[in-house]
Every structure is written in structure tokens, then in C-alpha cells.
């Protein structure tokens, strides 16, 4: 079975939890609880980034979410027409969680979203073309056995 569904949400931080819960419910038959948690968290982080950084906190802009369900994978795309993530920021390999816990100044208060998405999902791609940005996040479904 494969299916796809598209959602659209206004760039308002108060709507993010709702759309993430909706997507979690859409994926419920395909993912176990831990994988659904990973998808929900990644989607929240991705949309938060679009609203806070891309649209600079402005409401009234469009954020699209495309959910595609396949036998072996769930793919979530977040589509916006905001300022794109710079390649250097997207590719940054430094780990925000490699902090020194004995030094409070070293513990991050932000800049964790993309790293969390990478840790939670199996594949993460970013495309920006003609003013449209697309973050594609894939969670693989292990074969039953």
C-alpha cells in the first residue's frame, strides 16, 4: 500500500503541535511508537525552523507538509517559500550535543533542531529552487520478521 496526503499550515508557532499530532496519527499504522515519536519531533523541529528562521517569526505565510506512506518508508516533506537554510548551516557537521556538561556555558540553549532531525530520521535532504524550499525527511520501516 502507498498513499500520500498534503497538509497546509499557517506560519504560526501555535499551530505546529497540532499539525505534528495530525501527521503522527496519519503514520500510526506504519510506525511503532518510538518511530512515531521521532517523526513527530522532527516535523516540529523542521516547521519551527521554517517559521523562526525562514519567515523570521511572521505569521500568515504558508508551510506545506507532504506525508507519503510506503511499505518500507514514511517520507515527510516540509515545503516553504521562506529564506532558505544556507548550505553551510545545513551541512554543518558539528554536534551541538558534544558539550562539556561540567561547564554550563557550553550547554546549548538553541541550534539543536537540525541535529535532532538528523538523529531521529534515516535520511534528510534539502532542496531549494525557484524560491521554494523542501526538506525531505525519511523514516525507514524495518521489515517484519
Amino acid at each position: 500500500m502507498s498513499a500520500a496526503i498534503q497538509l497546509a499550515v499557517d506560519s504560526d508557532l501555535s499551530h505546529v503541535a497540532l499539525v505534528a499530532r495530525a501527521v503522527r496519527a496519519i503514520c500510526a499504522d506504519f510506525l511503532d511508537a518510538e518511530a512515531a515519536d521521532a517523526v513527530e519531533l522532527s516535523l516540529v523541529e523542521a516547521i519551527n525552523n521554517v517559521i523562526k528562521h525562514g519567515y523570521e517569526g511572521k505569521p500568515g505565510k504558508d508551510v506545506g507538509v507532504l506525508v507519503s506512506l510506503q511499505k518500507d518508508r514514511v517520507t515527510i516533506e516540509v515545503v516553504d517559500r521562506a529564506l532558505p537554510i544556507e548550505a553551510a548551516v545545513f551541512e554543518r557537521s558539528s554536534d551541538p550535543f558534544a558539550f562539556d556538561e561540567t561547564n554550563l556555558d557550553d550547554v546549548p540553549e538553541g541550534g539543536m533542531g537540525l541535529a535532532l532531525i538528523r538523529m531521529s530520521m534515516d535520511e534528510v535532504e534539502y532542496m531549494s529552487r525557484d524560491g521554494e524550499n523542501r526538506l525531505r525527511m525519511t523514516k525507514l520501516i524495518p521489515p517484519r520478521g
Binding site: 519531533l41 523541529e45 550535543f97 556538561e101 550547554v107 540553549e109 538553541g110 539543536m112 533542531g113 538523529m119
Partner: protein, 68 residues
């Protein structure tokens, strides 16, 4: 002590806010987490924030850890 037993979801903004609280307490302050479950507990371990905030099953255990 921060009781998260009724919290089902925390994202990195929430985690950052908890870190900010700890920083505002200053060098002599400490903050212990109680009752984190499921995805909330996993977020703390995934981000290694469990090294900064000791996780306790109950509020009583968290209080004990800070008064010890």
C-alpha cells in the same frame, strides 16, 4: 525540581528553555527533572542533557537528590 510527569512532548525549544532556567539559577543552583517519560525521557538521553539534568522517577527522589 521540574516535574514533567504530565508532559507528553518536548521539542528543542522546550529543552533550550529548561537549559536557560538552569543558567539563570547561576553556578550555585541546580535543577533536577522528575517523572520524564517516553519521548520526553528519550529526548534528554538523545541530546545527552541527562548529564546536565539528573532524571528521577518521582518528585520525592528528585528533592532527595538536591537536598543530599
Amino acid at each position: 525540581v521540574l516535574d514533567l510527569s504530565g508532559v507528553e512532548f518536548v521539542d528543542s525549544s522546550g529543552l533550550g528553555a529548561i537549559v536557560s532556567c538552569l543558567k539563570r539559577l547561576g553556578p550555585r543552583g541546580s535543577l533536577a527533572i522528575a517523572g520524564a517519560q517516553g519521548s520526553v525521557q528519550r529526548l534528554f538521553t538523545l541530546t545527552r542533557m541527562d548529564r546536565v539534568f539528573p532524571l528521577h522517577e518521582t518528585v520525592d527522589a528528585a528533592v532527595d537528590s538536591l537536598s543530599g
